[in-house]
Every structure is written in C-alpha cells, then in structure tokens.
C-alpha cells in the first residue's frame, strides 16, 4: 500500500484571458504524481505558475485541459481530503485560535463535542497549547502560521498543500517551524499521507522534500525532477546536502540560459525588479578577492549574507545585460563586467546604459521611440500595451518598472510617474 497514488496530474493546461483579448498560457503540459508518504517540492521562480497549479489541485480553480485526480476520482471542486496552508496564513482575525481551527470541521457536520476534542488535539500537536483563546493579531508570525497548520491538519486530510508557508517568516522562525514539522512527519504523528510544497527556496526544498520538481517559467511546466536521497533528519552542513543544492543551482542556471536563448529576443523577456545598487554590489563583490571575477553562487550568497534565491535574480540581471555569465552554479564577470567594477560612477552609468541599449530590447525600443518623436516624449500606455501582449498585467508592470529604474541609473531616458510620460529630458 505504500505506493498507493494519492494524486495524479496529467497534461494540465491553464490560461487566463488577457486584457487585450486572447489567452495567456500560464501552465502547459504539467505532469505530477504524489505517492503515499511522500513530500514533493515544486521549485521555481515567482510568477512561474506554481501557486496557480496548487490551486488546481485544491479544486479552487479548473484547468482548461488535462486531468487531475485524487484517489482515482477526478477533482471538480475542493475535495474533502486536501487541505492547504497559505503564504499569508489566511487566518480570520475575528476568530480566536481555537475558532479558526474549528472552522474546518464545522462544515463537516461533526458533533460539537468531537469538533472541540479534535481541534484541541490539533492545537496540542502543533505546539499551540495555551494559545487557544488568543486572537491571531496577538500572535507572532510563526505562531500564526502554526495556527494555519493546525487548521489544515484538523480535518485529517490525505494531502497537505503548502503554498510557500515559510516565506513570510523570518529566517530563524521559519527554520524552527520547518524542523518541528519534519520531526512530527518523521515520527508519523501527522494525520496526513503526503505533502506538496511550493517554494522558491532551494535549501528549503532539499531539506524537506523526497523529490523536487523544477518549474520553468512562461508557460509554467515541470522541467526536471531531482530525487533527494538523504536520510532524515537532514543536516544542512552535510556534503551530500550541499551537492544537491549545487546540482539544483546548476540545473536552474542552465535552464535560465536556455530559456533566455528561447525567449530572449524581443520584448517578451520578463524582468524581475532588481535595483541597480544590488547589481553594482554583486559586480563589486565578484570582482574583489577572493573571487577575482568568478564565484560559486552559494558561496558568495553566504558571504553577502543573502539567501541564494535572493541572489539569483541579481545574477540573472547581470547575465541579461552581458555583464556576467552564469554557468554550472558559478557566476563569472564578462569583460564589460570587469570594466564596470573598475570604473568611476559616471563611466559605470555609461557602461550600464550601453548594456541596456544592446541587450534589453524594451529599453532600446523606448529610447528609439523617444528619439524618433519630435516631442521626445511618449506615454506609458504605448509600451505597457505592447508588453501585455506577451505577459500578464502584473508581469508587464514589473518589467516596465525594472526598465525604468535601470534606465534612470544609466540616464538613458527619464520617466514622470505623475503624468505617466517617458521623456529624454532630465531636470537640469
């Protein structure tokens, strides 16, 4: 019975209507199976459709194509045996801890006395004893998420869905909660049979999961799968642990390169917002000893006291502008990157602006339009509409915001948020 399939997902496709008409594909051909006793991780960048996928499993939304089945039954609404823990906790502030936990049972037509016993048991299990009558606002973030866990587990679901449950918590609290959860899981004390964890944190995935599925972006699909074969409890300093983290990095950077080759032309490139300060900072750090132009990403991340997945978008921005190259989990400065590191502020702006012109099509387009127009101005709508043909509204917003902030640093053009106009003029 150990290999009994809890969940089977086959060729799932999901798209959203675009504001200008047409459909935007968010998930395409996603395959997944969850066996009893398994923790499966879905790892990917933000905006890769992982959370959308989780909501399909939860029966909160329907796919446009493909099939999802839970214990052999097709999912066509929230199934009773699947519960979810939310990133923002989604606790009801007007209910006490106990009432929040009981909520999940009340809809099940269970006698009141049993509801209470089971709720108290779940609260006890998750380490919330003594907090029964507190309101969520009186609790710290970590305690609130414990309520989130208790509320999901009280219904004794077969599958627990975790939607980045630790990402709103500080590092220490998150680790504490993860350890407690894994301990309970290891001792078989959790009333659940399998978990699916959505995360963008590589170490978290390696620490918790039996299998990690790598999610690629645009459209989201599972691009690879890595089995984590380390006995529990796992130790972050274990060499095998580090090897897995490195391996996942390498796969993700390789994928980022090939993805860039695929979709890097034209305006379709989605750009996550990374401040120019971070870009300069990373270039300086890589250029300086002991790295001297080439660094292992996890190493430099711990040096800079950043989570590696915080560093990842910065490294990608370097790669995008050809100031650095990502390869095999390493980052290497290009010739331009090295020149940037040695340069004074004004020369840096010069280099940055040239990189934008040659490597970022959107920046080049805006500049060209501004040059061509006699007024040397253009409204924001002109570009956001064009972007929205290729990506979601939110992604378009962020991409444009990123380009504006980079262009400001490079003094390529300026933007007035009040009038929503691009122009060539800088205040003199």
């Amino acid at each position: 019975m150990a290999d009994e399939l809890l969940l089977e997902v086959h060729d799932v496709r999901r798209s959203f209507p675009k504001p200008g008409g047409g459909q935007l594909l968010v998930l395409d051909g996603v395959e997944l199976a969850l066996k009893q006793g398994e923790i499966v991780g879905l790892l990917g960048r933000s905006g890769s459709g992982k959370s959308t996928f989780l909501r399909l499993i939860a029966g909160l939304a329907q796919p446009q194509g493909g099939s999802l089945s839970y214990l052999g039954q097709p999912i066509d609404g929230p199934p009773g045996g699947i519960a979810m823990v939310f990133q923002s906790f989604a606790l009801f502030p007007w209910l006490t801890v106990l009432e929040n936990v009981q909520l999940g049972l009340e809809a099940l037509h269970i006698p009141a006395s049993e509801i209470r016993t089971r709720a108290l048991a779940a609260i006890d299990l998750i380490g919330l004893d003594g907090y029964e009558n507190a309101y969520p606002r009186e609790l710290s973030g970590g305690m609130r998420q414990r309520v989130g866990f208790a509320r999901a587990m009280v219904v004794h679901p077969n599958i627990l869905l975790l939607d980045e449950p630790f990402s709103a918590l500080d590092v220490l609290t998150a680790e504490n909660l993860r350890t407690d959860l894994l301990e309970l899981w290891g001792e078989g004390r959790l009333p659940i049979k399998g978990m699916i964890l959505v995360t963008h944190n590589i170490e978290e995935a390696v620490l918790m999961c039996d299998r990690v599925c790598l999610f690629s972006t645009n459209p989201g699909r599972i691009a690879g799968e890595i089995k984590i074969d380390i006995p529990r409890p796992r130790d972050r300093t274990d060499q095998r642990f580090e090897n897995y983290v490195d391996q996942i990095y390498t796969e993700m950077t390789a994928r980022a390169r090939s993805a860039r080759a695929e979709r890097g032309t034209g305006l379709a490139t989605l750009m996550n917002h990374v401040s120019s300060n971070l870009i300069s900072g990373l270039i300086e750090a890589v250029a300086a000893p002991p790295y001297n132009g080439k660094a292992d990403l996890p190493d430099i991340a711990s040096d800079l006291q950043m989570e590696i997945d915080e560093l990842f978008p910065v490294a990608e921005a370097l790669q995008l502008m050809r100031l650095g190259e990502l390869e095999g989990g390493d980052i290497k400065l290009t010739h331009m990157g090295k020149r940037f590191a040695d340069a004074e502020l004004n020369e840096r702006k010069e280099i940055f602006s040239r990189a934008l012109m040659s490597q970022v099509p959107l920046a080049a387009l805006i500049r060209r339009v501004l040059d061509e127009r006699t007024s040397h101005t253009a409204p924001r709508r002109r570009f956001i509409d064009e972007l929205e043909d290729h990506m979601t509204e939110d992604a378009a917003e962020e991409t444009l915001r990123t380009v504006v902030s980079w262009a400001r640093f490079g003094e390529l053009f300026s933007y007035d948020d009040e009038s929503e106009m691009f122009s060539l003029e800088n205040p003199t």
Binding site: R55, A58, Q62, A90, G104, A107, H109, R151
Partner: protein, 575 residues
Amino acid sequence: MKILPPVSIEARRLVPSRWDVLAAILVLGFIVLFADASRALVQPLSSLSNAPLSLDPWNLPGYALRTALRMLIALGVSLVFTLTYATWAAKSQRAGSLLVPLLDILQSVPILGFISVTVVFFLSLAPGRIFGAELAAVFAIFTSQAWNMAFSFYQSLRTVPDEMIEAGRMFGLNGWARFWRIEVPFGLPSLIWNMMMSMSGGWFFVVAAEAISVGPTTIVLPGIGSYIASAIKQQNLGAIAWAIGAMLVVILVYDQLLFRPLVAWADKFRIDNDDSEEYPESWVLDIIRRSDLMDRLAAPFHTFMSWTYKLTAPARGRAGILRDAVPSRAGDAVWWVFLAALAVFALWHIWLMLGGTLTWTDIGSAAGLGAITMMRVIILIALASVIWTPIGVYVGLRPHLAHIIQPVAQFLAAFPANLVFPVAVFVIVRYDLNPDIALSPLMVLGTQWYILFNVIAGASAIPRELRDAGTNLQVKGLLWWRKIALPGVFPYYVTGAITASGGSWNAAIVAEVASWGSHTVRAHGLGTYIADATQAGDFHRIVLGIATMSFYVVVVNRLFWRPLYWFAERRYRLT
C-alpha cells in the same frame, strides 16, 4: 478608519459612461413617479396635524425617545438594504455596472428633496393615521444613511483577500456561510464607522422631517424636531434651549450605548495588524462582556445560524469551484431589454410630467439659483478650510489636546445645526442683516467639523520621524507649513472637505430660508427654490430643483473633487 468619499469620487473615469446616464434617468424617473403620485393625492389628505404639541419641557424626554426610535428603525432598514444591495452589486458583474452608478446619483440627491416628493405618497399608504407620516420620516433618515453604508460594504466585499475566500472554500463553507463568516465580518469595521457617520447626518434630517408641510399637507410628528418647529412658531427661546439640551443628551446616550460599544466590538474584525491606532474602548461593552448575559442571548442566534449553514450541502464538488466567469449572451440580452424598457418608461414619465409645463426659462432660473448656491458653498468651504486647517494641525500635533478636541468635533458634526438656525434668524431680524450673506454661514455650521476632525487625524498621523527631520533641518514658519504640515494633512483634508461640501448642499434647503415666529428670512439660491416649491406643493418645481441640485453635486464631484482626491492620494498619502 477614514470617511469614505462619495461614489463619484471613487469612479476612475472622468467622462460619464452610459451607465451613469442610465442611472440618472432611472433616479429622475423614480422621483417623477413619486412626485406624480403625490400630486394626485395631495388634496384629500390635507392637514394631518394631530394634537398640538406642548412646549412643556417635561414632554421632551418622551419626544426625544420617539425621535431616537425613528433613527434606530431607519438604521435597521439601512442595514438590510446594505446587505442586499451591496452584495448584489459586488457579486453580479451585470448588476454591479448599473447599481454602483445608481448609488452615485442617489447620493447626490438632496435628502430633503426625497422627503418632499415621498411624504404625500407615504401618507397615502395609511390615510388619516400617523403611521404614514412615521414611514415618511423613517424613509428620510434611511436616505441619509443607506447610500454611504451600501457603498462602504460594496468596497469591502471587493477587497476581501483572495486567500481568505480560498480558505473558506477549502474547508467546505458554502456561499451563504462564507458571506456571514468571512465577508460580513471583514466589512464590519468600515460599515459600522460609516453607520456612525451617517447617523450624524441623520439627526439633521430627522429634525426637518418631523415637521414639514408639502402644499396643504402638514405633518407634525411628536418628536424633538416638531417641538423645535413649534418653539420657532411661538418664538419661545426657552423651549429651544431645552430642545438643544435634550438633543445633546440623546446624542450622548446614542454614542455611549450604541456606537461606542459597536465600534469597540467591531475592532476585532479589523484585518490590519498595526497596533499604532489605539483600541477603542467602551464601558458598556466591558460590562456586557463580563456578564454572560450577551452570550446567553446570542446563543440561540448562533445555533440558528449554524443550522442555516448546513441547509445546503457544503461547497464540495462542482458548487465550490471557481470558474472563469463567462457571461451568458441570452442573460445579457434579457437584462439589456429589461433596462431599455425601464429607461423608456422613466423617460416617458419624465416627459409626461415635465415636458409640457417646464419652459427653458424655468430651467434657466433653477440653474442660475444653483450657481448662486454653488458660489456660497465654495466660499464657505474655503473660509472654513482657512480657519480649521491650521487649528486642526495645531491640535493634531499635540496628542493630549487631540484627545479632547477630536471627540468634541465629531460630536458637533452630529449635532443638528438646524436647532441653532432660529437663534441666528433672531439675530438677523433684530440687527437687520443682509440674508444673502448672513444666512450663508448656517450652511456649514454642521459640516465644517468634518474638515476639523479630518485635519486633526491627518496631523496626528504624520510620522514622528518626518517631523523630527523637519526640526533637525531647521524648517520653520511658512516653509514648515508649505513643505511639511500642509502636504502631510492634505489627503485627510480633501476627504473632509468633500464630505463637508456634500453636506452643505444638503443643508442649503434648510439654511437658505429660515423663520422666527412671523418673520421669514430668505436668501437667493437653489435651496430656497426647493423649500418654496415644497411649501407650495408645486411638484414640477420640486423635481426640477432636485434634479438641478443633483446635477450640480455630481458635476462638482467629478470635475473638481475627484481629480483633487486622486492627486492627494497619489502624491501625499503617507503609507
């Protein structure tokens, strides 16, 4: 918690849409229908005045109680309206596109105008008895509360966090249970706050609604409002002083026994976790919470509600899934035909009533008078701003002072300024002042406080560090006002000024004509026009006056306040 600006301020579009036009036609059609019905009914119902009111102060507690009860009933009706209308508007895209513009137009109709056209109709529902008049008064108060409340709840419904709804569906709560357990609690704090604000406005109109004459029909309902009306007729200053005292007591009691406990109770439904704001407290709520009386009273209600949640199957299976909304074409067609028929019907009635009788001269004169009233509102709001903004900033920056002044200002806003009008008229008559100028301040008497307490709130919300930075950079005097204080309070000021301006238009109907015994003082303006038409029972001019005033309010909101509001929110809102 902030006051919600009117719907037309929130609307993102400057140019009216076809929905706005449709909404305007429907509201006008509704008013015309009522006016038409009233015109036909006016004769047989003449003079419903019952036993004359006694000015003996010993009767006041009884009168006050009846006035307070009318408010409470209207509040209940408004609540029912809010929970249905706003929910429909938020849940159905089809309905929402009409219902929201409809709220906008309804909000701009002067409340006393509603009374003028509906009183006779309500009287006809229960001819010869006082019940119809009671209905009319309750309806008047309802119109002063319901629109704000519905709009606030609509806004809340649209902003419930997705994850909360998902959690509810995940645990099998069906739509009915989600509404009562998630959506209503989420909207409660802002709903109760708006309820309190509307209540303040309501006092003003209850006083006006208790003693009103429409043509030959005169209503006198026992209550504080009619007590005042008699006192004015008999020129009894002492009685007016008693009435003012009674009003103060009623408002205080309402505040302490109803609103303060409600606000303190609703605090647990607030979703933001910032502890910067103080917890509202109420001794009444403390008492209730410490006894188990309330728990015992509420228990059967809880049991009943839990039972209703289980009436339908939990939201498993198909019922619980969120599909991408695909509006059905057939449904759209039916809806459109229905609306078109309604619009044609409304237009036809508008034409029937106004087409033959109203000339361009009539419309021109109403518009001209509207312009005069608008000038008055603009000048007085500007004056009130110049006076209260600096005072508000001064008070707001001193927490101990703000603690005392803030509730007083809120209280003054609730105090029905029409109680003071007779005194003003007395002064004007005695010193022979020019009514066009001397009556004007009465329009902002009750509404100026919105500016004061909003500015106080704004000034106390300026972060300590910003002020310290100013001090550190030696920013003083005029520069300090221009760069720190005024920008800091600006968004709050704008919201206050919008509320004050809307209230002043409403007050014009009462404030532009005032009488004291046999003396009547009148200023030129649209308010006087509507008041006179009401007195004369001239429904054509009542309708024209109301329509003109609504038009002015909507246009001023859209062209002036809306851009200013969004500019303030974008540029000066400190988050």
